[in-house]
């Protein structure tokens, strides 16, 4: 899988490129700011662009804006945004704006190589990735007449893993149960929350995240 990495800090950019090479990715380009990133995406047409949210010149949300531009110009390129802050609003913006292959992870996830590689692959193959911390903020949010109150603890767990963008099989592996059990949980969850179920993983994430973000 071909990857472009954009981060204004050399130490993180180089480090990330090394990690990815180590785990079998082909790093085709390195960018220090949004313009460079757009250039390289244009030139190399990578499978995934890994983008730091905060880059020059304003050091605010350039990465996010660049991601949206890539979305418009090259919808086939997967985008994984890295952030040092938990901004659920940004994540929802990103997920709901795109159709396929987007992710929002906290920067420290780069320390877990296995998870990182899995996330990049998922984004590269059109799936979604949402950081567990962001998901837990969405799921655990205090609400009046909480619709999630109708879910069991296990179902909440499954809901969170779904929101992270995991497939039924991945959820089943993680919870040490059969895929069939997970399917039953998912069905229950969708009924309780009155959501239209969808076989497509990405649409499923979208439905769940939109539901959680709206309340």
């Amino acid at each position: 899988m071909r990857v472009v990495v954009a981060d204004d800090a050399v130490i993180l950019r180089e480090g990330l490129a090394r990690l990815l090479t180590e785990t079998g990715f082909e790093v085709v380009g390195l960018a220090g700011d949004a313009d460079e990133l757009l250039d390289q995406v244009e030139r190399y047409k990578p499978d995934v662009a890994i983008v730091d949210i905060r880059m020059p010149p304003t050091h605010t949300d350039e990465g996010l804006r660049a991601a949206k531009t890539i979305r418009e110009r090259h919808p086939e390129v997967g985008i994984l945004v890295l952030s040092q802050h938990v901004h659920a609003g940004y994540a929802i913006e990103l997920l709901t704006a795109g159709t396929l292959g987007v992710g929002y992870l906290l920067k420290e996830r780069v320390s877990d190589l296995t998870e990182l590689a899995a996330s990049v692959r998922r984004v590269g193959s059109g799936g979604s990735v949402l950081d567990p911390v962001v998901v837990s903020q969405l799921v655990d949010r205090r609400r009046v007449d909480d619709p999630l109150a109708g879910l069991t603890a296990r179902e909440r767990e499954v809901l969170a893993l779904m929101a992270e963008g995991r497939s039924n099989r991945a959820i089943a592996e993680r919870l040490f149960v059969t895929e069939h059990t997970i399917e039953k949980h998912v069905k229950n969850i969708f009924e309780t929350l009155r959501l239209a179920s969808s076989p497509d993983d990405h649409r499923r994430v979208l439905a769940v995240v939109t539901f959680l973000g709206a309340r």
Partner: protein, 571 residues
């Protein structure tokens, strides 16, 4: 003494003149002759007494005597007649000096000085030169006494001298008319008020004199009538001086009025207005001494600039016990009436001191307000800097260490036994440290506020709140950083407060901007009874709002929830 002398001189001159009916009278009749001389002497004396340093008084008295001396040309005896002829037109020099030097008694311009000097020459040297050659019968009248100064009877020379004298006189009158007219046009309002009677009378007299000399040069038959009218015009000048004098007296009455006005309740009094009325200068500016900064400020506490030495305005500093209390910035014309300015300042002294204290208080308040706002802004800038430093420095270093640990873990051989769990443990500890650091930096300065503005930041804040919280934010565009920041922390504190003390089930947050202000509210449905007294977080909240010139309000009746509201000016 001088007055008595003047009185007698007039009577004597008229008495002498009345016997000389051999020649047609040059003067406009006895009453007018007396009026001209006496009014010059009387108003000269009055002016002399009140302002001894001013040359105007003596000059007017002298002009009066010269006038009477000129009446002697009507005398029968050759000695008196000759004296009268010598002084025939000498009073014109006095008249010119008075008109041109009013009200200061000084001739400021080179042209003024030249005109007076030339006139003095014409009425003395040239007059005497003429008399040396002029025979009475040929040049004055058939029945007049002999000219004792006549040395040779030379009609040609005498005629030439006379024509020269008259022509030069015409030139002087033209210049005088121009000068006076220009002065009238250029005068500022207070100047004009003070000078218009004298300048006006002088102008009229100069015009009449100009016409009468022209008639003499042309030898017109109406010469005598014109000379009479010129006499009337001359008499007006000292009367005008008296009028100007009376105006000043009236101004003193104004001071009395001012004192009464100052007795009114302070709230109903506009001191600047009252002083500008009393001084007749609508452009008056009033400044109060602000000792802490050694400068003058206006009643709102804003700095007042003093005019420079060449400026078109003048300043008079009012002192009390050697300390400046206020400054009046006024029209330079008032300088000629220093007495009035002094009396007005003296009358207003106590009120000025009062107003000064209030202005000083307001200036201090304005300064305090500004310094509080500066402190808040400095704190805000510092928070941003710290957040940035943590993000660019510490956080990145820790992330890069986490990467290295990840890499290390992947490269560990399968049979390392206890090494792998240790690396995983370290990695997890590092992740926890990064999470804590993230919370910390967000608390120092929320990046989303800078990036997305207040509504997005409030949304994020409520998402993370430990009570169910909803936001309704309608804000037009971006607001100044300090306001956004203050509003954000206001809501943040409000939410924390509600979570800690209110036992509420939900919180409602609103933010709305309209016409240059931002209103933020935090409402909970808890037990109420909150108070900004007694060292709670609410006091600090109120302080921060007020430091930015905002208004804080708290309504928390027991059992009915708590309403916090802050209104920030953001123009």
């Amino acid at each position: 003494m001088v007055g008595v002398a003047g009185l007698l001189a007039g009577i004597a001159a008229v008495w002498v003149a009345s016997f000389g009916s051999f020649r047609p009278p040059l003067i406009p009749g006895t009453p007018v002759a007396l009026l001209v001389g006496w009014s010059f002497i009387a108003s000269g004396l009055a002016s002399w007494r009140t302002r001894p340093e001013n040359w105007l008084g003596p000059a007017m008295v002298g002009t009066g005597f010269l006038w009477f001396a000129s009446l002697l040309q009507q005398a029968q005896g050759p000695v008196l007649f000759t004296i009268g002829e010598i002084f025939q037109i000498s009073y014109l020099a006095g008249f010119l000096y008075v008109v041109l030097s009013f009200p200061s008694g000084r001739l400021w311009g080179a042209l003024d000085r030249a005109l007076v000097l030339v006139t003095v020459g014409l009425v003395t040297v040239v007059q005497l030169a003429w008399m040396v050659f002029a025979q009475t019968r040929a040049f004055i009248c058939d029945t007049c006494a002999a000219n004792l100064l006549e040395i040779t009877d030379n009609a040609v020379v005498a005629h030439a001298v006379l024509q020269f004298q008259r022509t030069a006189g015409l030139a002087v009158m033209i210049a005088t008319i121009g000068l006076l007219a220009a002065r009238l046009l250029r005068a500022s309002r207070p100047q004009r008020r003070a000078a218009i009677p004298v300048l006006g009378a002088g102008l009229v007299a100069a015009i009449v004199l100009f016409i009468s000399i022209t008639a003499a040069v042309l030898n017109a038959p109406s010469q005598l009538n014109l000379t009479r009218i010129a006499g009337y015009a001359l008499a007006v000048v000292p009367v005008a001086v008296l009028v100007a004098f009376a105006q000043r007296r009236l101004a003193r009455g104004v001071v009395a009025g001012l004192v009464v006005e100052l007795g009114a309740p302070a709230s109903a009094l506009d001191l600047r207005e009252a002083l500008s009325r009393a001084l007749g200068d609508p452009s008056l500016t009033l400044g109060y001494w602000f000792a802490a900064e050694s400068r003058f400020v206006d009643s709102a506490g804003q700095p007042v600039d003093l005019p420079g030495p060449d400026a078109e305005r003048q300043s008079t500093v009012v002192e009390r016990d050697g300390q400046p209390i206020a400054v009046l910035i006024h029209d330079p014309a008032l300088e000629h009436n220093a007495g009035l300015v002094d009396s007005v300042c003296a009358a207003a002294g106590l009120t000025l001191e009062n107003e000064r204290l209030q202005a000083e208080l307001r200036a201090r308040l304005a300064e305090l307000q500004a310094s509080r706002a500066r402190l808040i802004e400095a704190t805000e800038a510092e928070r941003r800097r710290i957040e940035r430093d943590l993000h660019d420095g510490t956080q990145q270093r820790l992330v890069s260490i986490a990467m290295s640990l990840g890499l290390l873990e992947s490269r560990l051989p399968a049979d390392t036994g206890q090494a792998r769990p240790l690396v995983i443990q370290t990695r997890e500890a590092l992740t926890a440290a990064l999470a804590e650091l993230r919370e910390l930096t967000q608390g120092i300065h929320p990046t989303i506020l800078t990036e997305r503005g207040l509504p997005a930041a409030l949304d994020e804040l409520c998402r993370r709140a430990s009570l169910p919280a909803t936001v309704h934010a309608v804000v037009d565009g971006r607001l100044p950083d300090r306001i956004e920041s203050a509003a954000y922390f206001f809501v943040s504190e409000g939410l924390a407060n509600a979570a800690k003390h209110s036992y509420a089930t939900q919180v409602r947050v609103t933010a709305s901007s309209a016409s240059g202000s931002l209103t933020v509210t935090v409402h909970d449905d808890g037990i109420g009874g909150a108070s900004a007294q007694g060292g709670t977080g609410l006091r600090g909240l109120a302080d921060r709002v007020e430091a930015l010139g905002g208004r804080f309000s708290l309504s928390s009746p027991p059992g009915q929830g708590t309403d916090l509201s802050a209104e920030f000016p953001c123009g």
